[in-house]
């Protein structure tokens, strides 16, 4: 899980103190005096601040979301983060000390295109914490060398006679897909265009150095925006490795995590719009499997490529930072046994700490659920719909709760027309698919932010009561 420990950098000026009691259970920080608890930090970190700063905020209004409100909200101008603004989040030696505020800013406004090259590396947790400008530069140089070495090695192999079948197979699979990725975009349109070759190199390198995952369809979609923005194969690779630390679980063969995400999306829709949910249920479409691509690729294909960049950075900014290991940084390869075993040891320690904290928390939750469970059984008999509570942010959406709200916004956008035309299961799936690569980023983001703020607010109120 990404919310590894409460992080002093997450402390905000605004002191919310959402958890007055029961904080010990949440607190997995090695420095207890410095911590507010990971969920607390998280709540402070994301949209809640906006929520509280808005003087006209009214929970019930957000729930009874209507068009006018979105328009009101959109009329508030969102200006992408500029270079000058970004510098304010750095200290005198270029250390990103105000990471939380920086993420807040990006979450609200996105980033100017020319600055993305710099900012995305931070959003994607490429750098170990408290790296100053000089250290970051050296680190990138070193990682770039490391990458080039790995890449050149398999390239040499592929050209030689004694190339293994596996390497050939992977290369063929990747070649097929890189020739079928974002070819409509001018920067990918030419077969021999540099970006197509870079994409191929990046993906084969990743597949060969991560043999347990290898190459999976969908990875090329996740990598292409990185190449587009970073304009450097090695840097894009480093970012990709970092992104995959969070997303590799989407490609797990058993699909457990993906299942969980769908379960959560169903729950969210059921809670936010019971009417629409029952309509889908009536049409046997409540499994929401027609959203499969949305969840797997985190919406990458649902918007025009140039516009999805904003959505991606806003979404990444909504997730608390997850710095790589201080000593080693991002691992570029699973095959590096010496380094990887060291890394694993540390990861295990962290996990154990987390596990105990989670267990404690779960026990507490179970006690509450038992009561809820009984109640709902009784009420089921009365044929009344009891919608379960939404999970807390550090469970909801398996490390990316905001994605669920983006999906919710996309789902609700079509509600009226779907119900009005009384679409059946097939028609619903086909209808949503019509909007591939053409949804409107701004309106979806606005609506998702609103709903997300409302959820965080609800969570905060809920945990106060516990």
């Amino acid at each position: 899980m990404a919310y590894k420990q409460s992080d002093p950098a997450l402390k905000l000026k605004v002191d919310l103190k959402p958890f007055e009691e029961g904080l010990e259970d949440w607190d997995v920080s090695p420095e207890p005096d410095n911590s507010t608890g990971k969920v607390a930090s998280f709540l402070q970190n994301t949209g809640l601040l906006e929520t509280l700063q808005s003087t006209v905020f009214n929970v019930s209004k957000v729930f009874n979301y209507n068009k006018k409100q979105v328009e009101d909200n959109t009329s508030r101008e969102r200006r992408p983060l500029t270079d000058a603004e970004f510098r304010e989040y750095l200290d005198s030696v270029g250390n990103l000390t105000r990471d939380t505020e920086f993420r807040m800013h990006v979450y609200q406004n996105g980033v100017e295109h020319s600055l993305r090259k710099v900012v995305w590396k931070h959003l994607l947790n490429v750098f170990p914490r408290e790296f100053n400008g000089k250290k970051r530069f050296d680190y990138l140089t070193k990682k770039k060398e490391e990458y080039s070495k790995i890449r050149d090695e398999w390239k040499r192999l592929l050209d030689s006679d004694n190339c293994s079948e596996n390497v050939k197979l992977v290369a063929n699979m990747v070649r097929k897909d890189t020739l079928r990725t974002d070819r409509g975009h001018p920067l990918f349109s030419d077969d021999s265009s540099e970006n197509v070759i870079r994409l191929f190199n990046l993906l084969v390198t990743y597949a060969l150095t991560h043999p347990s995952l290898s190459y999976c369809q969908g990875m090329s979609d996740l990598a292409s925006p990185l190449l587009l923005v970073l304009e450097d194969e090695a840097h894009a690779y480093i970012c990709f490795c970092s992104l995959m630390r969070r997303l590799s679980q989407n490609f797990d063969l058993k699909g457990l995590v993906l299942n969980k995400k769908f379960e959560h999306l169903q729950l969210l829709l059921r809670r936010k719009d019971p009417e629409f949910f029952s309509y889908l249920k009536y049409q046997n479409a409540d499994d929401l499997l027609f959203c499969y691509r949305w969840v797997l690729l985190e919406l990458k294909r649902e918007f025009p490529l140039d516009n999805v960049l904003t959505l991606l950075e806003v979404m990444w900014a909504s997730i608390p930072p997850d710095y790589p290991n201080m000593m080693l940084g991002i691992r570029l390869s699973d095959l590096d046994y010496e380094k990887s075993s060291l890394y694993m040891k540390q990861a295990n320690i962290k996990k154990n700490v987390l596990n105990t904290a989670y267990k404690k928390l779960k026990r507490k939750k179970l006690e509450c659920q038992d009561i809820d469970g009984c109640r709902s059984m009784v009420e089921d008999v009365k044929a009344e719909e009891v919608v379960p509570k939404l999970p807390a942010p550090d469970e909801f959406g398996c490390e990316n709760p905001f994605l669920l709200f983006l999906c919710l916004a996309l789902l609700l956008q079509q509600k009226d027309v779907i119900i009005k035309k009384r679409m059946d299961y097939n028609e619903i799936a086909m209808h949503y698919d019509k909007f591939i690569r053409s949804n409107d980023v701004d309106s979806v983001l606005e609506r998702a932010r609103l709903e997300y703020s409302a959820y965080l607010r609800e969570q905060q109120n809920g945990s106060k009561k516990v």
Binding site: M173, K176, D177, L179, R180, T181, D182, R183, C216, Q217, G218, S220, D221, F251, L253, G255, D287, L289, F290, Y292, R293, L296, L297, R301, K420, K421, R422, M423, Y425, N426, E427, A429, M430, D433, I436
Partner: protein, 216 residues
């Protein structure tokens, strides 16, 4: 089902299945747009196409589900089979492995659709005869042994593509006519849309078919 004025009287659901890269999406695109899209994106989950065709004077709307070929997506793509009246099962004549996997695709198609689902085997990329890796005869024999209809096609040149989609529809229509396909059965993959409104009032075209079909 809701009754109302339609510019077609039946809807047939098709699925297209087969290994990744055999040309499923290109076949669909060739059929609906009459164009070869060489760099069409690889499919994640499922994508769709529709076209209205005519069989024996009846207008039929085809709802075509183009599924992803990669093994990893099977768990999801299986959920899209339900209620398919036709299944186009595609392999690539230049890649033997895609042919060898047919039996597993066929098992899925048989298990996840109803017994009357028409299964049509397509050997795609017939334009690449020089690189052929699977002969016409052996595929023909496989098709006969398993009671499948069969054609070699090219999504690139368009050869036989129209026929594969239309022959499948004809067979389904025949099954309806001779009573072997029960329209009322759940998941038959066919919907009958009696066009009881004056057709002239409803200016043809795709979209009008969907327009507020229910007044109840």
């Amino acid at each position: 089902m809701a009754a109302g004025p339609y510019n077609y009287s039946y809807i047939f659901k098709y699925i297209i299945i087969g290994d990744m890269g055999v040309g499923k999406s290109c076949l669909l695109h060739q059929f609906t747009e009459k164009k070869f899209m060489a760099d069409c994106p690889h499919t994640i989950g499922v994508e769709f196409g529709t076209r209205i065709i005519e069989v024996a004077g009846q207008k039929i709307k085809l709802q075509i589900w183009d599924t992803a070929g990669q093994e990893r997506f099977r768990a999801v793509t299986r959920s899209y089979y339900r209620g398919a009246a036709g299944a186009l099962m595609v392999y690539d004549i230049t890649r033997r492995t895609t042919y060898n996997h047919l039996s597993s695709w066929l098992t899925d198609a048989r298990n996840l659709t109803n017994p009357n689902t028409v299964i049509f085997l397509i050997g795609n990329k017939s334009d690449l005869d020089a690189q052929r890796d699977v002969t016409y005869d052996e595929a023909k024999q496989f098709a006969e042994e398993n009671g499948l209809m069969f054609l070699e096609c090219s999504a690139k040149t368009g050869e036989n593509v129209e026929d594969a989609f239309l022959d499948t529809a004809k067979k389904i229509y025949k099954n309806i006519q001779d009573g072997s396909l029960d329209l009322n059965a759940a998941e038959s993959g066919v919907q009958h849309k009696p066009s009881n409104g004056p057709r002239g009032a409803n200016l043809g075209g795709e979209s009008s078919g969907n327009k507020d079909p229910c007044s109840c």
